[in-house]
Symmetry: C2
Amino acid sequence: MTITETGKLELAQNAAGRRVPTIVNGRAQTPYAGIGGHSPTGCKAAPPVRSSKDYPENGDKRVPDLETALRQCGLRDGMVISSHHHLRDGDKVALLALDAAARIGVRDLMWFPSASFPSQKSAIDLMDSGVVHHIEGSMNGPLGDYCTQGKMRGMGVLRSHGGRWQAIQDGEVHIDIAVIAAPTADFFGNADGSHGKSACGSLGFALADSIYADRVIVVTDNLVPFPCIPWQIQGNNVDYVVEVPSIGDPAKIVSGTTQITRSPDRLLIADYVARFVRDTGIMRDGFSFQAGAGGITLAFVDYLRRMMKDAGVKARFVRGGSTKYLVELLQEGLTDYILDGQTFDLDGVKSIASDPRHVATSPFTSYNYHGKGNFASLIDVVVLGATEVDVNFNANVVTHSDGRLLHGIGGWQNCLFAGCTILAVPSFRDRIPVIVDEVTTLTGPGELIDVIATERGIAINPRRQDLMDAARGSGLPIRPIQDIKAEVEKICGGKPARPKLGDRAVAVVKWVDGTLLDSVWQVD
Amino acid sequence: MTITETGKLELAQNAAGRRVPTIVNGRAQTPYAGIGGHSPTGCKAAPPVRSSKDYPENGDKRVPDLETALRQCGLRDGMVISSHHHLRDGDKVALLALDAAARIGVRDLMWFPSASFPSQKSAIDLMDSGVVHHIEGSMNGPLGDYCTQGKMRGMGVLRSHGGRWQAIQDGEVHIDIAVIAAPTADFFGNADGSHGKSACGSLGFALADSIYADRVIVVTDNLVPFPCIPWQIQGNNVDYVVEVPSIGDPAKIVSGTTQITRSPDRLLIADYVARFVRDTGIMRDGFSFQAGAGGITLAFVDYLRRMMKDAGVKARFVRGGSTKYLVELLQEGLTDYILDGQTFDLDGVKSIASDPRHVATSPFTSYNYHGKGNFASLIDVVVLGATEVDVNFNANVVTHSDGRLLHGIGGWQNCLFAGCTILAVPSFRDRIPVIVDEVTTLTGPGELIDVIATERGIAINPRRQDLMDAARGSGLPIRPIQDIKAEVEKICGGKPARPKLGDRAVAVVKWVDGTLLDSVWQVD
């Protein structure tokens, strides 16, 4: 490991050859050591033992408002406040909590959302005014941009869904107060995401917060008599319950329906991927798959569904993010189960609320690398996107080729452990090639990425001779990645311009085991 | 607190005036300090951080047999091996594990079952031969008798269901290896109790073990393809999976049907209790109740059901142990939910397996006193039994009046926190009065026991003037407890003989907060 000095920040070179800080937000870091290269030590985080004698005997934990709840939780300067993003761009609760903290007059909070969204951009004002010191969590859009401009006082820390669980569980992040937006809850704090006017489906992203935080506040706009069933969040972990008129904007919490791409090029990619899955024999009775909720991956699910029907093949389970396309599979008997980490559209919400075969999962079951295994490596094939891929099959999902941080990792890193990982990407976007010599920000190591499918052909990672063999004779356009790249560069007029990156790391990308995979650099 | 010296064992007098050891099995103890008198400190137990890299990537954690699993778990002398009792007297797995440990040649194990049963009496041989040092957990029948005879090398520790969770959670008991009998499981270790030839319903008693033990082995006779749905035990906490031909004797796992008492006296008690619940206004729309699976309490449920129908009253929830009588309430729309900790008969098993309104609970949700509240104090009325009650409304459920330890605590202590606690007991058994001057073993403090209902009348605790007032004019035979006691002593020919107890504590009764409520003394 080479140690270099850049300004005040000491950097180390990790096993992927990337420069990463040795200290982040005051905490010593371990550089990425390769897949499975890091062995954790020590014990899980241990929240304080509480006593029922200190909680209302009748179970009623309601307090009048968030400010009261935060005060009673002992909110102080420098604390860590967490929130979840199941309400996505429709969430109101995280800002309600941060604004209440501002009114209380505390400073230098660390906001620890599972993800932040454009509608939360007023958190920038809270950072400018000193209430929030920095954000650790996915930053979609303006907040990520703010970070890459070097304006955040602390460093951004990007973690996968599984990595966030791992960080909380391992005690890397100690949550002082968790604020959990709940579409349905009872006065005891049992909470459910599947019912109510602000229904969002699963609440799995908030589960670690509820278990490990010192104090937990449930905020709901749909209080039901005890018991709230099902209880995705257990009231036995909850300190206070706050009723508000609205936890979010339903229109932005879930899409009415999720949309398949209409682009012929992208439909072609989806078709290639579905045929690849079929023709390599991955699609077989009892198989499993996961696909995102993007336009290409939705089209893939739709194509695969038809192929499954034609072939009389049934999956054992499919993994959500759920959409109406997965729900159709379930309803048509093409899968026994949907295992669902988040719910993207109204069909998904309706299904998870009513069909016992549509099962809510958490990052613990699905993704936590520091458990006794997780579901991610049991899945036969996963189809994902990327902002960039490189000739070594490394991929980027967090920054654009201009270096700006605009996306979170989500479950993307965790999913790479599937039996076959396929990145379905257009070969270029806005005349900028997607296949590059080296990704701007390394988010996923190439050794875990098996296939890159573009509208110009499918590249198979040379490490997967088995897939090469299986695809032979399929008639699919299997091509070396270098060939596809050369063709795209011809179309786009050359390689993409290298971003002008400063020498100051403004955020880091964690690997699933808590080590540092890469840095995001200030964009000058 | 008075400290006295009895043989080698130092004793302290606790807040209930009972003598309890200051050290139990090498661990310093806190004497009972009154209801809510003890404030816990410190943090929850923290199991080691694991890594998925050390578990099979394909999720298959099966090993050929229990001996292999125990060896791979690093079984050593002196370790703590836990098991659960959802298979009740039909369980085969606990002895399979202990016998495998004997073959491996280890000694001095602490066996930590959630309860032990008569069919496991060969554990006595394992104690005699030195493989098992002692048992901490409920000991029903011969094992309890063995303990009271002073033959166990260590001291028996009796905990309620909630107290067992508390002890594990608080790190008072560190489980080295949990062995979990699972009526259904997948190769990853996800496990469910509701399906399979050995179905027992809920697996809640094993949940703490799965979360906090260093190593976890799931033993099943019904392996299903991943994922096992629902997963009451999460495979992410499991190290090894073992398939065996049979985990238990179905006939002894659940009763075919649970039986209402036919004794006219006991039916009269049940009738009194049901009328008391109705006439004091506890039975009202949205109320909740819990009743055991004994002959009297089943009859109570049946009577109450008719009264609810007549009055057009619906409960919000009822708590199991579930039986066909609770299932009927659910099916007839007389309750919204059954919250079920254990499942006593085939109707209960069928219902919990198929009806989403029949919800499996765990001691964490229901009973753990060291959580942020629990369900027990939210219940309007609970009807329980006892082996003895005394004039101060203290009660005993673990020993008989001859001092022999023959029963466990179960959820009994935890349930005392209900809005109204009723003990439904015959006034004498085998011509021995049940109402005594002072209970042989204090299991529940009288200040939490509100009503004692016998066939000779109903005694209301003088602390509950509100219940006295509510029962006025009901026509129910409300009598001072001293009156009932005097009448019974006349019938039985005097007070029961005091047991001849030695001066050696052979077991202790923990209160729900981990303090020592009483001792069980060697019977000479």
